[in-house]
């Protein structure tokens, strides 16, 4: 249960980025999270409301895009998404594959903000 720490990091990071947009309000935050990142979306959503309260992110929506785990097969020399995280095998030939190319991501892809009109 480290989702609250993760959400707190998101709040800090987004708040920092907002410094360049004075007066802006955050409407949405989009994440890219790999299937191997050990993050549960329900827990993230649950913590998000609590952690954003009283911050410039209050009331914004959190959109989580989950990325499948992709391994590189040295035998086929191609990348492929594995069917289950219980088995790290090439989806084409079934060979064990230790080279993980995608699936550990945990990043803020973008934020949607509403900017105050600047008086001319």
């Amino acid at each position: 249960m480290h989702e609250l720490s993760i959400v707190s990091s998101i709040v800090d990071s987004v708040t920092e980025s907002l410094a360049r947009y004075p007066g802006a309000r955050v409407i949405g935050v989009r994440l890219r999270v790999g299937a191997l990142a050990a993050v549960i979306e329900d827990s993230l959503q649950f913590c998000y409301g609590i952690a954003t309260d009283g911050t410039p992110l209050a009331g914004s929506t959190l959109v989580v895009k989950t990325l499948p785990v992709v391994v590189h097969c040295s035998r086929c020399n191609v990348d492929g998404a594995i069917e289950s995280v219980q088995s790290f095998r090439c989806p084409h030939c079934g060979e064990l594959a230790m080279d993980v190319r995608q699936g550990r991501e945990m990043e803020i892809e973008a934020i949607e903000i509403e900017e105050a009109e600047v008086d001319a």
Partner: protein, 223 residues
Amino acid sequence: MTTRIVELRRGILKKNDELAAGLRDRFTAANVLVLNLVSSPGTGKTAFLERTLRELLAQGSLAAALVGDLETDNDARRLAASGAPVRQINTHGICHLEAEMVGKHLDGWELAALDYLFIENVGNLVCPSSYDLGEKIRVALLSVTEGEDKPLKYPTLFNSADAAVITKMDIAEAVGFDREAALRNINEIRPGMRIFETSAKTGAGLAEWLGYLQEQRANQAGS
């Protein structure tokens, strides 16, 4: 009011990752091999580490340990009995160690005087996997009483590990441990990972483990 999308493309744990990268540079410069030990509560991390520290000191190596725990300093006191420098990190409820906690607890230690530094994480198989501590080697430990399918239940942690240690092998037979299944499951999650079958009580598997430590330290020095 105008709305717009601002691309950030920024790691959520960027701050931790940056601190960890800084620690890794320090560890490499000091030529100290750093290992992050992760397992469930009760796997026997502390007993395994106690034995490892004693063996390393006996062979003339200098090893130290940082030990993470929610509240007590029981583990640090146990480990300190080996004669190695040990510091306790109390997380007060946080379920994992973070790079910042490690950094803070290094003050006053001369890293260059050490050969090995072990970081015993909080007993937890989920959260520690996301937090880089600047270690060179992440070790996942699993005891013979926990069930051979543990790697399948916690693939994130086992997949991010560099080595696996099976503990309490001395009671494997009594608890009906299916060795083949455990090895197969680890290999399914992290193909080719080094696996050590050990007992802190009898010392089984320790020679192989110590050999691995030595080899990894030599690799680090040469890289």
